[in-house]
Symmetry: D2
Subunit: 351 residues, 4 copies
């Protein structure tokens, strides 16, 4: 089928390539003309603006936006100007699902369908396909299903879940109609919230392994610092890059994020040059807020998010306050940076 | 090579089968004679006690224990009685690594090598192979490497980590010499700690999805209960079994635990009959205690553990105390069980 | 000065009494005429509706609302109808500060000042005074300062903070102008978030004490269940009501919430009859959402909130999922309710 | 009565002073002769070693140790050498209760009673008295009760808990016999665990207040960074020192730790010069490990502990891993230190 693609960054361009490879016709647009001409050279139809794109697509049209979330609102409005009742706008970016709900309501008044397509797959998507979580009206979903099927990974060689048989259901092919507009990004949001949790679980565990020699380092401490409770049990020098690789084989925690961890550690055994200031892209925050709204406990997802905040020093004032309180009640001075852990150093001061 | 196997439960028996299939010779023992004769029928050498097993193995011997952790200490002692200097005892069960450290020291005095082999793979191991995390002296590891190689999954069809080339390293074949005695179970312990975290991340996220209709249910509430802040954003009826299946295809969180989740939800869409009292087998606890000992933050792993405790009602007294405090300061009565959420019900009482 | 009071529930009525006791004149209204006549008998001026109240107050007027948060929006609109430019509406309830921001903007167009007064003190406020966190325009704050001063606890016999001298600042008297409209409830919101954290810290700690006999109970377990790692260290039968009382005297954690805990435990040593289904009144949720918005780590406040959700069973589906996964990978059956902890029960199954 | 005091640091010396003031006779010892002579000048009986101290005390003797926990084991042994059956050793320091259990068993063989006295009160104890949590044999507790009564704060002017009447119980006077040896330090340990939780709750909450202007700062961000979801709600410039002072008056969270926070913020409004590297003295760790052992959820206490670890950079390797994973799956580069929050910066990359 025909699809308009707005936004030819890494993901947008790769989706266009994947679509063309499977016989779809793509009319493409980007603010950067070079991005347009590159894809035109590969077989796409170039367009110069949204009106041009609309003219080059047969009604009823479908236009996919693959642009930064901060721009989506404005671009949806502009694209809608160029479209007609019955056309479909698909937001494939990382919008907040609440914006989808609002935009869908607005476009509905004009007869335009709004579909939100949460997309996971990272830089590997061209090859691997993108997992698609789709929200929107039944009719619109049905109409764009051919492109969704192409963009999605397909059944691949993944073992079929026991109990499933016959034709593959859409979810087995890597796309799913999750419900009305907004539900696609809602599911994608929670997906990313889970991702934060899994990443944190791996990172915390490997950090414990990396410190399994605490009993050895402890021995080097000065006399004023009492030892670990049982230093004899923390004498291991664990090779975390090898462990990450090992766990990829047959262990219960084998996962794509573990694959990436192993790759990262293979590439840079000691992680030199990484400051450990971890960004977050919004979905983890929205997930925690959604959990709070619906009253579901999510301590793991929240902890994973808060660890990222703390990695960027956002805990600084709180920590200063803790030090200040300790100074008040016990005259406890702060250790200078770089000094050893004080855990074992128990003064006869009471707290 | 030859291996003695003590303990022919599901895992022990499957390991024996996997070994025999690959040409190794197994002398087997279990307290249950039927388990022994079953395997003898399949080609193993039966033995009637540890002395008999020792007699049927050529020195230097290697005996693998695959028994409940609670029994390991006593059985190690008994087996050691039947062995000679230079022989090897391998504990393939779920021992606390601290016990390994102690046992290895004790056996060293008698010239017997102690190897701990943390084993992951669950009921799928016969077919899939077991991921092996091994601690012990270099010499002992080298001697038993042939059986480790057989028990492990091998390279399989898993994509090779970028940057790795040439012959497969042991960790790429699914087994690793992690360090001295105890280090194998230490790495396995942390593996399971991570597993708890990943499981919790998936469970929390899917619980949020399952409650994405809170705004709908809210509407049914009685007049005394104020609505959600923004019920219009929680109107989704998400099919969690389909979502779990979907995420297996190309998403960032694809993982074996997600495969199991999809399988569980396919088998029992509504999870009927499950009480949600989640057990823990010790490793998650030991991991958190190790994190505390070495001073590494592990809020995700700890939260995952505490959620299991709470699932069994171990938070009950704490919750009663919270209700009791609320009664004191604000005269807040507890809602009867089964009543609606009170989140929106804001009295003009101050807290 | 004169003040109109709308809402004569426990808190509204007590504030009126406190004001009259200090010489202020109160014009009162409630939907329940009995509540009005009770206070009229005590010296207040009764009013029959907002117009009547407005007529009985000299301009510029100040009207305090002490009503359930769910009603505040509508009542503010109605009261505003009866008021004139230059008048002040004070919301003393538990509104979400975002609503304050919105309401203040709306009323500003009509020349009416909106003041939000977060109020803490619980049922003890009549006697003890209410801690007041106030947001609103400077001019309005200055005008109502006399009533704030009366409602607040005053300096009392609390030790003065070292470094402070001279006349008492407002914050030493128990009221504070926190900033523009909304800031009062924002500070109150965070206050309650902290309250949740403190309550949870006390409850978790006392729960540990209540289980300090785990090593004794463990001994009664059946043979299949392995013991605690070190049961000899968990043989204490701690009297938690006495401990709570003890800590009130000179300990670092002495606090009003501890006083309440001691009172609750004195009243009901075993907390019989409490189901431990802990409600939350909104502020804890808003606090966590605000922390997420501004990017500040708040794992303690979030954990405290999530424990309340879990106390009401909102973790159920997540726990069922965990049990379902465990069934998948290891064939682990759930323990029936009421059965002993399984922590020590380590099967030779791998996870 | 007579008491030997070993260790004349701040707390030991103050306890001696408090005892002498109440008519008790103290025989004192310290490795530092100046500390001894200072107290001798104030009326204490100096002693030159443990034998000398024993000679100067009438049997049955009671000797209180107020020394760093790291030294307690050795000093208990030495003191015991100088004592006789029927004598009592009291450890008033911050020992791990497990050491108490072990020491008590050892001394019991020699007929010497071991009492552990967990002591809270900080530098204010001389004036305020120390809250005493005592473990040990009934007979020993009864014998030393007179000194405990003096060291403890007494009933003071704290409101009596409703329901209590008649003579004050020991816990109302500030000391309690918690159970056998070890139980005193166990209760003290949990007390400190709670303390960590309360401190963290206050620190997190005040950190949120300190960032209530995030919406203002956000506006200064560069164009590439998308804004907060609702910056209009984060426009407050909250004066945290004033808020801390305010909450001391009549609020639900009034507490001694809040008093200290207010004092710290009054002394140093901006907390300049504090690095925010927060030490921990052991009890918080032991509390979390005890919670894990007995199977009680303690997410708040654990989070408070982990925040301290993170404040010292112990999360660094974990954070590097998270950055490394993000680089792998999305090509996300780390922001340079000092750059703005990236929360709003949502690229069209999928995660």
């Amino acid at each position: 089928m025909q699809l308009g693609m707005v936004g030819l960054g890494r993901m947008g361009a790769n989706i266009v390539r994947r679509l063309m490879r499977d016989g779809h016709e793509c009319v493409v647009y980007d603010v950067n003309p070079d991005a347009v001409s590159t894809l035109a050279d590969e077989g796409a139809v170039a367009s110069t603006d949204f009106a041009d794109m609309a003219a080059k697509l047969e009604a009823p049209r479908a236009v996919w936006l693959m642009i930064p979330a901060g721009l989506t609102g404005a671009v949806v409005d502009e694209v809608a100007e160029a479209l007609e009742p019955g056309d479909i706008i698909i937001d494939g970016g990382n919008s907040n699902y609440k914006d989808d709900v609002r935009r869908a309501a607005k476009l509905k008044d004009r007869g335009i369908h709004y579909v939100d397509a949460g997309t996971s797959g990272g830089v590997f998507g061209l090859e691997r396909g993108y997992c698609l979580m789709v929200g929107g009206p039944d009719e619109a979903f049905a109409r764009i299903e051919p492109v969704l099927r192409t963009i999605a990974p397909g059944a691949g060689d993944i073992d079929r879940t026991p109990g499933r048989s016959g034709d593959h259901a859409p979810e087995e092919l890597g796309y799913l109609h999750c419900g009305p507009s907004g539900s696609g990004h809602f599911v994608k949001m929670v997906h990313n919230g889970i991702e934060y949790g899994i990443m944190a679980a791996l990172a915390e565990g490997l950090n414990i392994l990396a410190n399994a020699d605490a009993g050895v380092r402890e021995a080097e401490h000065s006399a004023e610092i009492a030892p670990l409770e049982e230093p004899e049990f923390y004498q291991f020098d664990i090779d975390t890059p090898k462990v990450a690789e090992l766990w990829r084989r047959g262990s219960v925690i084998s996962s794509w994020l573990l694959d990436l961890t192993a790759a990262a550690l293979e590439e840079n055994h000691t992680l030199d040059g990484l400051a450990g200031r971890v960004s977050d892209s919004g979905e983890g925050r929205w997930t925690v807020k959604a959990a709070v709204d619906v009253g579901v406990p999510a301590p793991v997802l929240a902890s994973a998010l808060f660890e990222r905040f703390a990695s960027r020093g956002e805990d600084h004032y709180a920590n200063q306050l803790l030090s200040a309180m300790r100074l008040q009640f016990g005259g406890h001075k702060e250790l200078p940076a770089g000094d050893v852990l004080e855990a074992g150093s128990r003064k006869a001061d009471s707290e």
